[in-house]
């Protein structure tokens, strides 16, 4: 139950996520190897526009990508109603975006 637009949104959000995932993993390895404490990490992320943009974009791309992915699974298993499916896709995307962006805000707002 996906047309061209949702398909493109899912592919494009994946393309956005791919480099961000690599960046995220690189940062995690660096942070752990270097033995950074939580406070030290927060010291670097708080007030940083770059980290806010990096993880903000990440959270949005994940929300779009995951919502469409879950939509396909639901459509092919238990949810055959088109309107319910549209509503749930939006709700999942919005919910993920809200949680993701709240977390980004918490670690980057100064």
């Amino acid at each position: 139950m996906i047309g061209l637009k949702l398909y493109m949104l899912q592919r494009l959000s994946a393309m956005v996520m791919a480099p961000l995932v690599l960046g995220h993993i690189a940062v995690m390895i660096y942070a752990i190897q270097g033995g950074l404490s939580a406070a030290e990490i927060l010291g670097r992320t708080k007030g940083s526009i770059v980290w806010a943009l990096f993880y903000g974009t990440f959270a949005l791309a994940v929300s779009i990508h995951a919502a469409i992915g879950v939509r396909v699974i639901l459509a092919e298993t238990i949810l055959k109603n088109r309107h319910a499916l549209d509503g749930l896709t939006l709700a999942i995307g919005a919910g993920l975006a809200f949680m993701g962006l709240s977390a980004v805000y918490a670690v980057t707002a100064s």
């Binding site: 139950m1 996906i2 061209l4 637009k5 398909y7 055959k80 088109r82």
Partner: protein
């Protein structure tokens, strides 16, 4: 005639609509016997009320497809020796289509989807015009040629789990047809075809696992055609923002 002929144990689906059960028959095994021969033998010798469908018996018409031991097959070209499991054969109506009676399915949903995929030719000339010359070596003609030997048997349609899960999905055969039209230089409605395969039941729902290509008796590859459609629709998305 030897009286000690090996017998095949054949289980045949009997019933109408959603109701039914398997019925067991014993059929003498022969050399070079096809599944269609077995079904016909049952109908001619044991139960004249058995309903099934066939026409050409040589793999041309696409009307004889059934599930054989759980797999979709063209029964007129499927040899018993290749598919029998310890002398046992289960024959059932094609999956993913409503049953009319016994082994005959209603093919309407399958053909409706060909129409839904704009799977018919859109001419640009009349019979008064001269015939357009097409170079058989051109890349687009070669791509079209790879998909045109489809006999509409619906074996791929029965093999596709996405068809099972998503009743809107146009399915491998209709999308394969759309792809051949898209590559046919004589076809006049490229945009119409691209639109038709971009809807909520369109090519983007394919999970690319390839049962269609694995079971197609004519060794076509609908999965490759669908990948082509995904590519072309994505291109048109960037060009026109559709």
């Amino acid at each position: 005639m030897s009286s000690a002929k090996t017998m095949l144990l054949v289980s045949v689906w009997r019933g109408t609509g959603t109701q039914g059960r398997y019925e067991a028959f014993e059929v003498p095994q022969e050399d070079n016997q096809t599944i269609l021969d077995v079904v016909s033998w049952v109908q001619q010798n044991l139960d004249a009320t058995l309903s099934y469908r066939f026409a050409c018996r040589v793999g041309m018409c696409g009307s004889c497809a059934m599930m054989v031991n759980g797999k979709p097959r063209w029964t007129c070209r499927t040899h018993v020796g290749k598919v029998a499991e310890n002398g046992r054969i289960d024959v059932a109506p094609l999956r993913n289509l409503p049953v009319i009676k016994d082994l005959a399915t209603d093919m309407d949903p399958f053909f409706d989807k060909w129409v839904g995929a704009e799977g018919h030719f859109h001419p640009t000339r009349t019979r008064a015009d001269p015939i357009e010359a097409i170079n058989p070596e051109s890349p687009s003609r070669k791509l079209a040629d790879e998909g045109i030997e489809c006999i509409n048997c619906a074996v791929c349609f029965a093999a596709c789990d996405t068809v099972t899960a998503n009743s809107d999905y146009l399915g491998p055969a209709a999308l394969n047809r759309a792809w051949t039209l898209l590559n046919d230089e004589k076809d006049g409605d490229r945009t119409g075809v691209l639109d038709a395969v971009s809807g909520s039941g369109g090519c983007h729902n394919c999970h690319s696992l390839g049962s269609c290509a694995a079971y197609c008796p004519n060794e076509l590859s609908p999965i490759t055609a669908i990948a082509g459609l995904k590519r072309e629709t994505a291109r048109s998305f960037f060009r026109k923002g559709r």
